[in-house]
């Protein structure tokens, strides 16, 4: 009797032990940069253990993966990338980390926007995967909230494929988040409506807002050569200033990844206001104004509205 009770006790303990471990085992997901990371967190919730490669204020165009990244990749069960050739270094990283995780592109199925030729720019002389936009698809698709919704559904599907047990949770989270995105979309449209039509143009230093421009009707002037590249030619700067003067562009925006002095000089000479910072390719740190995707879009549109609506500076 004692023996069988003890055996039963042992057996039940043995059966119970792994369960908490199983219950706690999260899905290891690697997201290529901070914006994707935010989406994955929203949809994945507690079921997901997330590693983001290019963190806040980082520039994914010229990112150099570290050994820690390779380790995370090897341990991952799912990798989420942007696609549209945004991460030129991802293929090499997948190969070198020998990761067996499926790589899901968040932009699958998106209505591709071809960046107009002549708006290309190179990122850094050492990066062989020079990021030239001219004639290619603009990868910054998340700038349009409509596209962001597609990102979210793609991510949801990828998570379900990797972790079928969490299907219900993922669907619920996604639906809730999509609703928030809808509200955000409305917010942006309302904001733009308040800006007089003639004033809906501005200058940034990075060619990242094509999708935003297309979907919300604001013209973004971004010159060739004055972006994350290190050196601008006088010709490009002069051309931009002339254009800004002629079109009476209201505001010039800095970015969280470039040298501010040049932009300030351009603003001064073209008579435009310096509008503050726009967040294009990365979120800010959690204590910054753009810690999540929704905050980022809100920050951007509020800054734009403030700069372009005529009135006291």
């Amino acid at each position: 009797m004692t023996l069988s009770r003890r055996a039963l006790l042992c057996a039940s303990v043995l059966l119970v032990l792994p369960t908490p471990l199983l219950a706690q085992e999260k899905l290891a997901v690697v997201a290529s940069f901070s914006i994707l990371g935010d989406f994955v967190r929203e949809v994945g919730g507690d079921r997901v253990s997330l590693t983001t490669l290019v963190g806040p204020d980082g520039d994914a165009h010229v990112y150099s993966p570290t050994p820690a990244d390779a380790k995370a990749m090897a341990a991952a069960r799912l990798v989420i990338t942007n696609g549209l050739k945004f991460e030129g270094w991802m293929d090499r990283l997948v190969k070198s980390s020998a990761s067996s995780a499926p790589v899901a592109e968040a932009t699958r199925g998106i209505a591709v926007l071809k960046a107009p030729g002549g708006h290309g720019h190179e990122h850094g002389k050492k990066d062989k995967h020079g990021h030239d936009h001219s004639g290619q698809a603009d990868p910054h698709a998340w700038q349009s909230v409509r596209n962001a919704k597609l990102y979210v559904t793609n991510i949801r599907d990828a998570l379900i494929a990797a972790d079928a047990a969490g299907k219900a949770s993922y669907e619920a989270n996604a639906t809730a988040y999509l609703a928030k995105l809808d509200a955000l979309d409305g917010e942006v449209k309302a904001s733009v409506a308040r800006i007089p039509a003639a004033s809906r143009k501005l200058i940034t230093s990075h060619d990242a807002f094509g999708h935003f421009a297309r979907d919300y009707g604001i013209a973004f002037l971004a010159p060739r050569g004055i972006s994350t590249e290190s050196e601008a030619s006088a010709k490009d700067v002069a051309r931009l200033i002339k254009q800004a003067r002629e079109q009476k562009v209201g505001a010039v925006f800095l970015e969280n990844i470039t040298n501010p002095r040049l932009i300030e000089q351009i603003a001064k000479e073209s008579g435009a206001r310096v509008g503050g910072r726009l967040y294009s390719d990365a979120l800010s740190g959690p204590s910054g104004p753009a810690g999540t995707y929704i905050q980022m879009i809100q920050h951007n549109i509020r800054a734009i509205e403030k700069a372009l609506v005529p009135g006291p500076a």
Partner: protein, 294 residues
């Protein structure tokens, strides 16, 4: 082309403030870089100048880490790093079996790697490029003031130490026997070199700032052997390269970045002088003419 001379040579500067500023900045750099560069070259320290430019990097990087693209922070940091490396190199040369060139090489390489590591900690490769290449088209009032101050300081100090500096170059033993000023002068000169590199660095970045010092000096040497003329010609070539490079960067559709354009212009003058310079220019060597009577 259809552009008249005015449009070609003056209009860019009349029309755009950033062009005027760039020209003023580069002129200041040429003015103060030339005498320093001439002496570096005559003392066979041309590569030392290059090494010092790299040595400055971690100081500027620390300044950047502490305060972003803050001019005072990066300038002070760069100065400190330059002085430290120069001093350490000298000390090691004096107190060990290594000569100054080896010890300087060791320190500047350590310095450079340190600088890259520091910047990569906070920023990305992009920020590194900004520090390495500067931006001559974004010279705000602060930077212009710094350049003007450095130019003034350089010209004043050079005129003060000119005589002992020449002596120290030609016959250091003699200088030592008549005065104790030798090492002070040597340090003052190195200090000026570092100062000019740090100033040049906000306009042209670390890699190219030393170009404005050495290329005009080397070019001038191909035309004259007289010290006074060397300095004057070096200033001249520096200014011409600055103006030429900027104007080229403005007009050419290819869109050459302005910093490299300036250095390329200086390089072009150098190569042309290799052929045409009165001092041993290759063209002159081919047509030597008859020798003189006596």
């Amino acid at each position: 082309m259809g552009m008249n001379l005015y449009q070609l040579f003056l209009a860019p500067y009349v029309e755009f403030d950033f062009m005027r500023r760039a020209l003023v900045g580069i002129t200041a750099l040429a003015l103060s870089g030339a005498p320093v560069g001439v002496f570096l070259m005559l003392r066979r320290m041309s590569l030392t100048g290059d090494a010092m430019a790299h040595a400055i990097l971690p100081g500027a990087a620390l300044g950047y880490l502490a305060a972003g693209f803050s001019l005072p922070a990066m300038t002070l940091g760069g100065l400190a790093a330059g002085v430290i490396v120069a001093t350490l190199a000298g000390l090691v040369a004096r107190l060990s079996v290594l000569k100054e060139d080896a010890s300087l090489a060791a320190f500047y390489l350590i310095s450079l790697a340190l600088g890259v590591a520091i910047i990569s900690m906070k920023g990305s490769a992009v920020d590194l490029f900004h520090v390495l290449f500067g931006n001559v088209l974004a010279l705000d009032d602060q930077v212009l003031l710094l350049l003007a101050a450095v130019t003034t300081a350089t010209l004043v100090i050079m005129s003060v130490i000119y005589r002992p500096l020449v002596m120290e170059c030609v016959d250091p033993g003699f200088l030592k026997s008549v005065s104790g000023m030798g090492s002070t002068v040597h340090l003052a000169f190195l200090g000026l070199a570092v100062l000019n590199l740090v100033a040049g660095f906000s306009a042209l970045g670390t890699l190219l700032a030393v170009g404005m010092m050495m290329l005009p000096a080397a070019t001038a040497r191909l035309w004259t052997a007289d010290i006074t003329w060397l300095i004057l010609l070096a200033i001249f070539f520096g200014m011409v390269a600055g103006y030429g490079g900027l104007t080229l960067s403005y007009h050419l559709d290819a869109g050459i970045p302005s910093g490299p354009a300036i250095i390329l212009a200086a390089g072009g003058a150098y190569i042309a002088s290799l052929f045409l310079g009165r001092q041993g220019g290759w063209v002159w060597r081919l047509l030597p003419g008859r020798h003189l009577r006596g």
